[in-house]
Every structure is written in structure tokens, then in C-alpha cells.
């Protein structure tokens, strides 16, 4: 059924095509749903094709991307920095682990995931209220401490498993899921593929919600608060409410990511939520281009598969596994530094700038609005909200593109 939706945008005929592209531009929801349907189809195909080891890697990519997606909204769209998102994931993961502490537990998965999200949201409200008062380095410091302190809670309380952490039992694959998988692929799904599928479906659901929020009134309020506090307040935006709500939404995503983490790893312990995880999430958000959800997914993939690639390269160059993973981290850090120095808008920022230039060139040739450049998936607020963008040049359209905060103040290019 997803195939039917994917074929619709490519209808022939100039006028129909233009109507459709206008529809594509004006209704973010349609855009996001179609992208999601395509994404789901891709996920099914890919998961059928890969082996179990790659499936676990894909699961890892999915939960990292979910958390990074939430952080993208918080840091990219609302301008609040968080060095403690790994700690928020821990709340979701521990909740899931506590709810599935026994093989006999029959609680539906959806309920468990929602409960994990709810717990993280409650924590997010508390932290968000404190964070809304803080700026720049003070906020970074508070969230950094959170990243260090939260795993210690897990170590301290025996009910949370102490140093060892909690083991959890992933519920059996339901019969209908086995049936569908058998119908589609001709074989029974393995457990790791089932979890990978769950994680990716969660990712798609979370990203539809995030993308819609980003292109809604709420998302524009967040961006307004980020760009100019005083102007936003004069326009009647409650700064605290905007900041806290952004924090809570990103916490919810981190909670869902934590639940998937728990299902994938099957043990939840303090070591899983180190400072490195939190820093990695922030790095993904920055390298992906602050504010770009697509970038967040792509970079999560890079991050998860990079050590493996370096290791493969390294086995030729006599590197052992630990050395190779250290080299991978080193590479990642170097890339981070270089991106900030050379291309401060990140991966998707570069792609988007290219798209805007192409669009400007096309708009010069014909009057009707052209299709939305290369930022095809529902990433953050695209220039569709700005009626002037199709006719304007790349230079004037750029500041309106709310997803490139890193340059809005200084305008480097």
C-alpha cells in the first residue's frame, strides 16, 4: 500500500505536476506522511536484505537518530544547548527495563514505550523549567552535570541494578507480526530484526511528529525565541513556556530512544549512558546541520557505521579493534572541528544552500514556484512558510530559512 502513495507525485502533465508540487509545498503534513511511507517501505526492504548483525547496527542507528532528532529541535530550532541528552535517554531505558523485569509480564509494548516517554517527559518538565532560566555556558554546565549525575543514580540504588544494571525480557514476537513477516519475506523474522523494525517504526512516528511540530506555529515560536528574545517577547510569546515546551518535546524523543535502547541492548546499566553518548548526540546534531532532521538521521548512520569501516580499513593496516575505535573517535572529533571551521552549517546546511541556489536559478527562468530543492524530507521549517522565497535569490532567502541558526546572526558564506 505504500507503493501506491509513492507513485502519485510523479504524475505526467505539466499542470498536474505543478498542482502537485504546490500541494507538496503548502501541506507539510502530506509531505511528511508521504516521506514516512516511502521511509517505511525502504525500512522493510532493507531489513529483509541485511543479516542479523547489520540489523542490530541499524537498531542502534535508529535509537541514536531518535534522540538526535529531539535534540535537533531543542538546539537547532530553539537554540538551547543540552549536553545531557544521553541522561534523558537513561530515564526512558530504565523505565522500560523496570516494566519488563520479568518474562511473564504481558504489558503491551506500546504501553511500555508510552510509559517510558511519559516518565522522561516529567523529568524533562523539571529540568526544562530550571534550564529556561539559564543561558549559554550556564545551561551547558547544568546539562553537563546532569549527564554525569544521572548514571550515578543508577549505580547508587540497588533497585536499579547498581553497577551491573537491569536485565530485561523483550516480549515474544506477536503472532500477527510473524505472519506478516512470513507473508512478505517468506521466512520467520529473527528477534533482532523484529527489534530493528520496532525501532525504525518508532523513528518514523517520532520524526513525523517532530517535523510537523517544527513546521507548525509552535515551531515558529521556538525559532522566534532563538533568534531574538526581546522581539519574541514583544510579539506576545511567553519565553519560558516556549523554552520549557521545546525541552519537553526533545525529552519525549529521548525517552522513546531510551525505550528502544533498552529493547535492543536487553541490559540497562549506568555505563550505557556515559558523557560520551551525550556529546555524540550533540555532535550529530551539529554535523547534520543544526535544525535538520534528515541530517540527524544520516549522521547517526555515519556515527554507528564509522567504527566498523575504520576497523575494516585498519585490519589491513595492522590496527587492532580498540585502536581502530579510538581512530574512529579521533576522526569524528577532527571532522567536528573542521565542520565548524569550514562549513558551520553542517552537512544539510551545505546541501540546502545548494538547493537554494538551484531554486534561485530555476526561479529566474520561470514564474511558477519550483519544487522544494533538495531538502526533500520534512526537515525543520523549510522556506515554504515564506511567500517570497521562490522569487528571491539565494542571498535573500537564506536568512528566512529558520534551520540555519549558526549563520543567521553573522551571515558567513
Amino acid at each position: 500500500m505504500s507503493e501506491t502513495t509513492t507513485t502519485t507525485p510523479s504524475t505526467d502533465g505539466a499542470t498536474r505536476g505543478q498542482q502537485l508540487s504546490a500541494l507538496w509545498q503548502d501541506y507539510p503534513l502530506i509531505r511528511h506522511l508521504v516521506t514516512a511511507a516511502i521511509g517505511l517501505a525502504v525500512v522493510i526492504v532493507v531489513l529483509t536484505a541485511v543479516d542479523d548483525f547489520q540489523a542490530t547496527k541499524l537498531t542502534e542507528m535508529a535509537y541514536i537518530a531518535i534522540a538526535a532528532g529531539g535534540l535537533t529541535l531543542l538546539t537547532g530550532l530553539n537554540g538551547q544547548i543540552s549536553l545531557g541528552h544521553g541522561a534523558l535517554m537513561a530515564f526512558g531505558a530504565y523505565t522500560t527495563a523496570l516494566l519488563y523485569d520479568d518474562r511473564e509480564v504481558g504489558t503491551p509494548l506500546v504501553v511500555v514505550v508510552l510509559a517510558s516517554v511519559l516518565v522522561t517527559v516529567l523529568v524533562g518538565i523539571l529540568i526544562g523549567i530550571a534550564a529556561a532560566r539559564l543561558h549559554g555556558p550556564y545551561l551547558a554546565g547544568a546539562t553537563l552535570t546532569l549527564a554525569i549525575a544521572v548514571p550515578e543514580i543508577g549505580k547508587y540504588f540497588d533497585q536499579l541494578g547498581g553497577d551491573q544494571g537491569l536485565r530485561l525480557f523483550v516480549p515474544e514476537i506477536p503472532q500477527w507480526a510473524t505472519d506478516i513477516a512470513y507473508y512478505l519475506t517468506g521466512s520467520d523474522p529473527s528477534r533482532s530484526k523484529y527489534v530493528a523494525f520496532l525501532a525504525w517504526v518508532t523513528l518514523i512516528v517520532v520524526f513525523i511528529l517532530l517535523a510537523n511540530l517544527a513546521s507548525s506555529r509552535i515551531g515558529r515560536r521556538w525559532a522566534a525565541v532563538r533568534d531574538d528574545e526581546v522581539a519574541a517577547e514583544l510579539a506576545g510569546i511567553d519565553l519560558t513556556r516556549a523554552r520549557v515546551s521545546a525541552f519537553v518535546v526533545s525529552a519525549a524523543a529521548a525517552g522513546a530512544a531510551g525505550a528502544m535502547f533498552a529493547l535492543a541492548q536487553r541490559t540497562v546499566g549506568p555505563l550505557g549512558f556515559s558523557l560520551n553518548l551525550s556529546l555524540t548526540l550533540l555532535a550529530i546534531v551539529v554535523l547534520g546541520g543544526l535544525g535538520s532532521l534528515t541530517g540527524a538521521i544520516l549522521l547517526s548512520g555515519v556515527l554507528v557505521f564509522l567504527p566498523q569501516i575504520v576497523m575494516d580499513l585498519g585490519s589491513g593496516a595492522d590496527l587492532d579493534a580498540t585502536r581502530a575505535s579510538q581512530m574512529a573517535t579521533l576522526t569524528f572529533g577532527l571532522v567536528m572541528v573542521l565542520v565548524i571551521l569550514l562549513a558551520p552549517r553542517g552537512l544539510m546546511g551545505g546541501v540546502r544552500a545548494l538547493g537554494l541556489r538551484l531554486r534561485a536559478a530555476r526561479a529566474g527562468r520561470r514564474t511558477p514556484p519550483a519544487t522544494g530543492g533538495s531538502s526533500s524530507s520534512g526537515a525543520a521549517p523549510s522556506p515554504t512558510t515564506d511567500p517570497a522565497s521562490p522569487s528571491s535569490t539565494a542571498e535573500t532567502a537564506e536568512p528566512d530559512d529558520g534551520s540555519t541558526p549558526i549563520t543567521t546572526k553573522k551571515g558567513t558564506s
Binding site: G136, G141, A142
Partner: protein
């Protein structure tokens, strides 16, 4: 009573180390409005330089001085090459840049020196000092630590208060344009600020390492605690950094001595949140009008 004294003394030493680290952060914050997250792994690198020299049989104090000089060079080069391009850009660029440097230096140290634990010889004796019949929990090395930090603080205050150079550095930090118009070489002053901060950071690294075990992640907890100390103090004032460091050192020492070592990070978070809730700009900041 003995336990109380020992805990307090341990807190004093810990607080002094936090203070040194926080001081380095404050120096950089004052001069460039950048929070240097890479401070700790920079100190790790310079400490390893000293350690390698000592293992090669070079004199202990020569290695100590070389490590401090290496910090000076590292700080200056870093500011000149990497930091300069992001100065004056949005805050988040600098934050992410120094986080990137954090990752680079730390994994770099792991690649070069390995993750094995190595012993770093103590500065002076590590036996507790005996008063009458009881041995109290402070060593000659600890005295050196306290003395070194106080000396650094005094030197810095003297530099900023009483010398021409210090005045120029303060001018460059306060208002780059006006300072530049008045003939201060702003760029050079900023580089100097980073270099000095890196020396102080290296000093804190050496003080922590001395008499203990060293591995590339041995400064990780100091990153957070030194940072909290600086934030509590308000990031602006060197005195604030010292007070913040001591406050944190004493509290954490008493928590781990009387309650549990695992509560330390939580208590630190509690202290930080309490201070920031009451005074969002830290303890030692004058209230400033916000520019609109």
C-alpha cells in the same frame, strides 16, 4: 574528630585542585568569552609529556617545567589557529568547537599513549604528617598542591592588578574595539590569555596526576567539577573560581566521607542547581542590565 579533620583536609586539597582548573576556565572566559571544554584533555596531553620524560629518567622538576611550557605553547597555538576563526561568532560554534577539540585530544592521547594505567611519581612525600601520636591525612605533596595554587592565584592577581601587560589584557577582554584603538594589540593579548590559561590547566593536571595513576580519561571528573566550580563562581572572577572550587571540594569530600562516594555527582548537581536557581549568573557576578 580525626575523621572530621581528615575529611576537611582532603576537601581543602580537592577544592584547591578544582580551583586551579576553574581558574583556567575563568581566564579564557574573561578574555575570549569562550568556555574551553578541551581544557582537561589538553592538561592530559601535557601531563603525559612530563610522564614520558620522567620514565626516560630525566629530572622530575625539569619534566614539570617542560609540561607547563608545553601547555603555554599548546594554548597559544590553539587560540591562534583554531579558536580565532570562531571568535565573535554565535556562542554555540565555540562550544561545539571546544567539544570537538575535547574528543580530538582525548582520543589522540589514547592513540598515542594507550589506555593503560601508569603511575605518576608524587611531588614530595605521600605519608601523612604526624602531630604527636596521630597521623593526619595531609601530606607534604598536599602542601605543595595548596601552595602552588595559592601562588598561581597571587601571581595572576598581581599580573592583572599591577602590571601594564595585565591592564592591556583586561582592556582587550573588556572591549576589543576601544582597546585596539588605544594601541593594544588585541590579538596578541587574546593569545596570551589562552596560553596562560593552558599553563594553569596543565598545572592542575600535574597536581592531580602526582602520586596517582594516569590514563587518558583521568581528568574526566575534573572536567565536570572544575566546570561547576567556575560556573558557581560566576565565570567572571578568579576569586569566584577559588571560592567555588573550595565550596565544591569541601562539600564533595564530606559527602563521600560521610555518605557515599556515589552521591558525589548528584550532590554537585544539587549545589549547581541551587546556586543557579538563586543567582542564574553565579555567585560572583554583579547584576548587569541586559542590552536590548
Amino acid at each position: 574528630m580525626l575523621q572530621f579533620t581528615n575529611t576537611a583536609l582532603a576537601g581543602l586539597v580537592l577544592g584547591m585542585i578544582f580551583a586551579a582548573f576553574a581558574l583556567a576556565l575563568v581566564l579564557i572566559w574573561r578574555s575570549t568569552r569562550i568556555l574551553n571544554f578541551a581544557q582537561a584533555p589538553m592538561a592530559v596531553l601535557t601531563t603525559y609529556i612530563a610522564l614520558v620524560m620522567i620514565e626516560d629518567g630525566r629530572p622530575y622538576w625539569l619534566a614539570f617545567v617542560v609540561a607547563l611550557l608545553a601547555g603555554l605553547v599548546l594554548g597559544a597555538v590553539l587560540e591562534r589557529v583554531v579558536i580565532r576563526p570562531v571568535e565573535g561568532k554565535p556562542d554555540i560554534n565555540a562550544v561545539i568547537l571546544t567539544l570537538g577539540l575535547f574528543i580530538v585530544f582525548k582520543s589522540g592521547a589514547e592513540v598515542i599513549f594507550g589506555t593503560k594505567l601508569r603511575t605518576y611519581p608524587p611531588t614530595f612525600g605521600i605519608r601523612g604528617i604526624e602531630i604527636g601520636d596521630t597521623t593526619i591525612g595531609i601530606t607534604t605533596s598536599d602542601f605543595f598542591t595548596i601552595g602552588a595554587v595559592i601562588a598561581t592565584l597571587v601571581l595572576l592577581v598581581a599580573l592583572f592588578r599591577f602590571t601594564d601587560l595585565g591592564l592591556k589584557m583586561r582592556a582587550a577582554a573588556n572591549n576589543q574595539e576601544v582597546a585596539g584603538l588605544l594601541g593594544v594589540k588585541v590579538g596578541a593579548m587574546l593569545t596570551l590569555g589562552w596560553a596562560l590559561a593552558a599553563v594553569v590547566g596543565s598545572l592542575s593536571g600535574l597536581l592531580i596526576a602526582a602520586g596517582g595513576l594516569v590514563q587518558p580519561s583521568y581528568m574526566d571528573s575534573i572536567v565536570v567539577f572544575g566546570f561547576i566550580a567556575a560556573v558557581i563562581g560566576g565565570l567572571e572572577s578568579p576569586a569566584g573560581a577559588v571560592v567555588g572550587g573550595l565550596l565544591l571540594g569541601f562539600s564533595l569530600s564530606f559527602v563521600s566521607g560521610y555518605l557515599s562516594a556515589q552521591l558525589v555527582a548528584l550532590v554537585a548537581l544539587g549545589i549547581l542547581m541551587t546556586v543557579l536557581t538563586l543567582r542564574p549568573g553565579g555567585l560572583f557576578t554583579a547584576t548587569q542590565g541586559r542590552r536590548v
